[in-house]
Amino acid sequence: MIGWAVSRLVGVTVLLTALAFLSNALTESLETYYFLIIIQCGIAATLAVSLNLINGITGQFSIGHAGFYAVGAYVGAAWTMLWRPRLESTLPILSIGSPTGDILNLLIALALGSLAAALTGVVVGTPSLRLRGDYLAILTLGFGEVIRVVLLNIDAVGGARGLTGIPTLVSTGNLAFFWVALVLIAVTVLTRNLMRTTRGLTWLAVREDEMAADAMGVNTTRVKVTAFVIGSGFAGAAGVLYAHFFTGISPDIFGMDVSIMITTMVVLAGTGSVTGAIIAGIVLTALPEAFRFLKDYRMLIFSTTLIIIMLTRPQGILGHSELGFGSFFRLYRRLSGLRRTSSA
């Protein structure tokens, strides 16, 4: 046990240090434009992986993920801009401007933001998850919109204008990449580890056949709500990072189209595939940038692609499988095998 704990601790420390160095190097060497895209990709991938936990692994189709993203962003920003200043006079440690103050406040914002999003997840998930399939999907879409409209009507957070001038706590000490990567790695590792245990199998069982899983002693309600809450929490964390990197948030940027975009990522990649979700998150964020010249046609092409995928490969590009070095190897073998048969 102690050996395990020490090895884990060492591993995490090494990872953090490496990430911090990488983050510094990237910030220094990359042009701002490309760096922004990388950050956006990381946030999108986090959203996709966190939604994958709900949609892909437990099979509870939610298309209101942007709502939780918004809650995280707003609560995180509210801490930094509204609540923190009030506490600052009594607790000077909370003032920003110094690296330690910034990091401390970002951590608090991350904690509050993801907690608030997770709590919203409990509130939304507990009643909704009794429904299934398309009804659940529509219901979550509805909840996502309600969250947005409520934010729109809270004057303290700027109403329709939203909050601007949020301190860029994420970028302090060139650590933006570090934080984004950290959250992405956290949600990915969580999913992957879970999938290695028998408990993870019970989550998949809920996706495959809820009634059979229930009959085999799986507390399906608890599994579904847990997945929903964790997924929402990580979406919240992504929101906090967004707010403290891009400095401005408004209800507009958490609309239904964002929810549907995240859903597209999960569906396109293959529901249940973590690597697929990461790749889809990155590709669908970076591709539009690469194809700027197609500007107006982007969404048209995306939506057409989505339909084509649904018609030709409804299980998604990767299906339930994961992408690793092994799959590249298999692909290579298949391709070379094909070539041989076609030449024969």
């Binding site: 046990m1 395990w4 704990a5 884990r8 969580l190 580890n193 879970l194 290695r196 245990t197 028998t198 408990r199 993870g200 199998l201 019970t202 998949l204 069982a205 495959e208 056949d209 009634m211 059979a212 899983a213 229930d214 009959a215 085999m216 002693g217 799986v218 507390n219 399906t220 847990t226 339930h320």
Partner: protein
């Protein structure tokens, strides 16, 4: 001796229709009991009531001295009732072994956090579950197929896997919903042997729904006959096969 399962005047309505009306069942520990009846008699509804899928409108279901009506299916499973499904409901994309592991996880004690951080205790527990499940698959003759996707199994083996999965919850009472449906006579004989054997090996009490009279007569010690949601007869297979009410239910009553 107190029966393991006692159903007292249980009634279940759908809309205004009584799918199951006022039925009584009593099954003692170790028995192998059949539940037969024509199509639509309410047999599967009885199973759904026993396993908590439906909540009875009236009456009580007692299992091992505890009232279990209203308990959720997963609670009922934890108390020791496992079932198979008439229309096979395996976890399709999971492998044979994984299907069984899901059911075995019922007895796992580790916390959610452990499955995220994977401490040695979690790994040990998973290893134990895996060993137990492989052992179970071995006993049911599915060991060689452990890594095959469950959906790729032939029909008969899928039914067998359903039984294996139910056994993995370590039940005291096993409910089999038409385990022989769609099997050929040879497979049915194998199934009968299997049921007898697992009952002995695991010290099980078994209640099974079946259409095939030969199978029921061959292995059941006692039979309940259900017709239009009511128990119309109860007794040994021989008694049942001579009961005029049962014959009428199956063959219909003549015009005279």
């Amino acid at each position: 001796m107190e029966p393991l399962l006692e159903v007292k005047s249980v009634t279940k309505y759908f809309g205004g229709l009584a799918a199951v009306a006022n039925i009584d069942l009593a099954i003692r520990e170790g028995e192998l009991v059949g539940l037969i009846g024509p199509n639509g008699a309410g047999k599967t509804t009885v199973f759904n009531l026993l396993t908590g899928v439906y909540v009875p409108n009236d009456g009580t279901i007692c299992f091992a001295g505890r009232v279990i009506n209203g308990a959720k299916p997963h609670r009922v499973a934890a108390l020791g009732i496992a079932r198979t499904f008439q229309n096979i409901r395996l976890f399709k994309t999971l492998s044979v072994l994984e299907n069984v592991k899901v059911a075995a996880n019922l007895r796992a004690s580790s916390s959610f956090l452990a499955s995220v951080f994977l401490p040695p205790s979690q790994q040990r527990e998973d290893a134990v579950i895996e060993r137990e499940c492989m052992d179970l698959l071995d006993r049911l003759g599915l060991k060689d197929l452990a890594d095959a996707p469950s959906v790729s199994l032939p029909y008969g083996l899928q039914r067998r896997l359903e039984i294996a999965r139910a056994l993995a919850t370590k039940p005291r009472l096993l409910l089999l919903d038409e385990p022989g449906a769609g099997m050929n006579p040879h497979e049915k004989t194998e199934l009968m042997d299997l049921i007898r054997q697992i009952r002995q090996d695991f010290g099980l009490t078994v209640l099974l729904i079946e259409h095939d009279m030969k199978l029921v007569m061959g292995i059941c010690e006692r039979v309940y006959v259900l017709d239009y949601g009511e128990i119309i007869a109860e007794g040994t297979p021989e008694e049942i096969s001579r009961d005029p009410k049962v014959i009428a239910a199956y063959l219909g009553v003549g015009d005279e």
